[in-house]
């Protein structure tokens, strides 16, 4: 398998873990300095002093995952379910240690009688750590970020 194919498989695998709600396994794919980012405006630079729908480090992602295990996670009783539908990732290799990928996606999240449909492009920044791929950054450019949004409860 080429390096590019390896990265593509990884991106698909990550989405599959989220759809199967294997959140602890997903968390293990993240570096300790991970950034999980969903900007609020278009072309938002990280140094802009502007809000984001998500700008989360590993602690905040752990909070989301641990919260889902709480008996009092009222908004998830009953739980939501999600499905990522990914387009083929475009991969750029930077040396043999770092990779960037760009993956257009459709994301469905269902909760009881309601299903929401979101779409956009997800950008991964991946690094080789002891021979394994890890996510250092995941930036989600949501298509309808200006819209009035309903609750988005799981991980895009």
């Amino acid at each position: 398998m080429s390096e590019i194919e390896r990265v593509q498989s990884f991106v698909y695998y990550e989405a599959q873990l989220l759809d199967e709600k294997k959140f602890d396994e997903w968390l293990a794919l993240l570096t300790d300095d991970v950034l999980y980012w969903m900007p609020l405006k278009r072309d938002q630079a990280e140094e802009d002093i502007y809000n984001s729908l998500l700008y989360e480090d590993k602690l905040l992602l752990q909070v989301r995952i641990e919260r889902l295990k709480s008996p009092r996670v009222f908004s998830q009783l009953p739980p939501s379910h999600c499905q990522h539908v990914l387009q083929h990732p475009e991969v750029i290799c930077q040396g043999d240690k770092e990779y960037q990928s760009r993956t257009p996606f459709i994301y469905l999240e269902s909760h009881m009688d309601t299903q929401i449909t979101l779409g956009g492009v997800v950008h991964h920044e991946l690094v080789n750590v002891d021979g394994e791929l890890r996510i250092r950054r995941k930036r989600i450019e949501l298509l309808n970020r200006e819209s009035a949004l309903p609750s988005i409860q799981l991980f895009l």
Partner: protein, 453 residues
């Protein structure tokens, strides 16, 4: 305002919905009650529209709907804030659809090209001869036939308080200062936290659609007994994860500082206190609040002392109110510089907007803290917001039950309570909600009576 064709024909039908210590469920779930509110409560009270920092230059505009009335707030060529209805004088098209932007010197209708000056007056019509003799006759030399009032309707009742722009759509109701009274001290405290006494709306808006009645959100802002229950799964988890490998003396990251107080105990929130004002306004956090223990930002204290002197600066910083409700539309957090605005759409649909403000003259660290708070607590992606909305929705659905037509506001109710005047109460009292419904009843009835006479 056109009289609505609801089942609420006279004031007695309205007063029957509100008792001293409970309200009828229809105030949340009935479409006719919603129409009543949109016909009488919202037009006759001062509703928050925007902040003048959003339109700094001539031609800058922002739009919003208030009680289904599409409005444009703009800065005219003289630098004044003008509010006009977003409805062309010709066929009624909205002139601008964007939430904000910049106009050239005119407003131009996208349909037939009628143009209006920034003060709303009609400037030009293509093929004006076609209107000879009509009230739209711009060519008449003496303009006798042309009605000078033709143009975009201007909202007359506009008040700007420290940059906060409020409108009252009808002539019924109280004057601005009579309506808000001393509750304006919360806006003062937020603005005074800037060494220059000025605020700027920056950082983007969260637009979070709630499938619930607007009042559930507004009431929740001074409900001190839900955080430790509804937010246990979020704030409690932050606390659990942090203290698993840290102790009380460790310096906490901002995330922990912001989440941890949500799961304070009942005594904490009770001791925090609530203050009510006439006309439904109130704030929690009379003595301290969930925002009191934030770390100091270096240099800030000194900049306020330089600006205001030691005594005033320390008074400003010692005021850490929790949520102030400017009934019915606006809720603010002065201590962390956020706004949440209710934009009701239907009896079971409310757009909630969350805005962030910069303290002009203070460091970016303040704004970063503000943005983090708004993101963690108010965004459509917030684990705190999810549980709040879940509860509001659960009420919306649960009240369909025929079991009990009345919704309780009994907590710490006392027959001698004077909700018609300002007063301080223990934080866990539901007095703020009783005050809101008293104002709800009074304002609707007064507007109905004004319309009838």
């Amino acid at each position: 305002m056109t009289a609505s064709t609801t089942r609420f024909a006279n004031p007695a039908d309205v007063t029957a919905l509100v008792r001293d210590d409970e309200v009828h469920k229809d105030v949340y779930i009935d479409a006719d009650v919603f129409q009543l509110e949109m016909d009488h409560l919202w037009p006759s009270t001062w509703i928050f529209l925007g902040h003048d920092s959003q339109i700094p230059m001539p031609g800058d505009f922002m739009t919003a709907d208030i009680a289904a009335e599409p409005l444009i707030m703009l800065r005219d060529k003289d630098g004044c804030v003008v509010v006009v209805k977003n409805r062309c004088a010709h066929k009624g098209a909205k002139l601008v659809s964007a939430l904000s932007g910049k106009l050239s010197s005119n407003l131009r209708c996208p349909y037939h090209g009628w143009t209006f000056r920034l003060d709303g007056s009609l400037r030009s019509i293509p093929e004006p001869k076609g209107y000879a003799g009509s009230k739209y006759d711009l060519l008449a030399s003496d303009r006798t036939t042309a009605d000078k009032s033709i143009g975009l309707s201007r909202v007359k009742n506009v008040e700007i308080y420290r940059g906060f722009v409020f409108v009252k759509l009808s002539d019924a109701g109280l004057g601005f200062h009579e309506f808000f009274g001393d509750s304006l001290s919360s806006i003062d405290n937020m603005a005074d936290r800037s060494p220059e006494g000025r605020l700027e709306v920056v950082g983007g808006t969260f637009r979070y659609m709630h499938n619930c009645n607007w009042k559930m959100f507004v009431e929740n802002l001074n409900d001190t007994m839900h955080p430790m229950v509804a937010h246990h799964s979020s704030a409690g988890t932050v606390k659990k994860l942090w203290y698993a490998d840290h102790d009380k003396t460790d310096v906490k990251p901002m995330v922990v500082e912001q989440f941890e107080p949500f799961v304070s105990n009942y005594k904490f929130f009770d001791d925090m206190g609530v203050k009510i004002f006439p006309n439904g306004h109130s704030y929690t956090g009379v003595n301290f609040s969930i925002h009191s223990a934030y770390s100091a930002i270096p240099g800030y204290h000194d900049s306020l002392v330089n600006a205001y002197g030691k005594e005033k600066a320390e008074n400003i910083l010692a005021t850490n109110r929790h949520n102030t409700v400017y009934y019915p539309s606006l809720t603010i957090k002065g201590a962390i510089q956020t706004l949440r605005i209710a934009r009701p759409i239907a009896h079971d649909k409310t757009l909630l907007e969350s805005w962030t403000l910069r303290l002009v003259g203070a460091s970016d660290e303040h704004l970063k803290r503000t943005l983090m708070y708004s993101r963690l607590i108010n965004a459509p992606t917030s684990v705190v917001g999810h549980d709040d909305l879940h509860c509001y929705r659960a009420i919306q659905e649960g009240l369909a039950s025929s079991d009990n037509e009345w919704v309780s506001l009994h907590r710490r109710y006392d027959e001698s309570e004077r909700i018609d005047i300002s007063g301080e109460y223990k934080g866990n009292s539901e007095v703020s909600m009783r005050g809101q419904f008293r104002a709800w009843r009074e304002r609707i009835v007064a507007s109905m009576q004004a319309q009838a006479s």
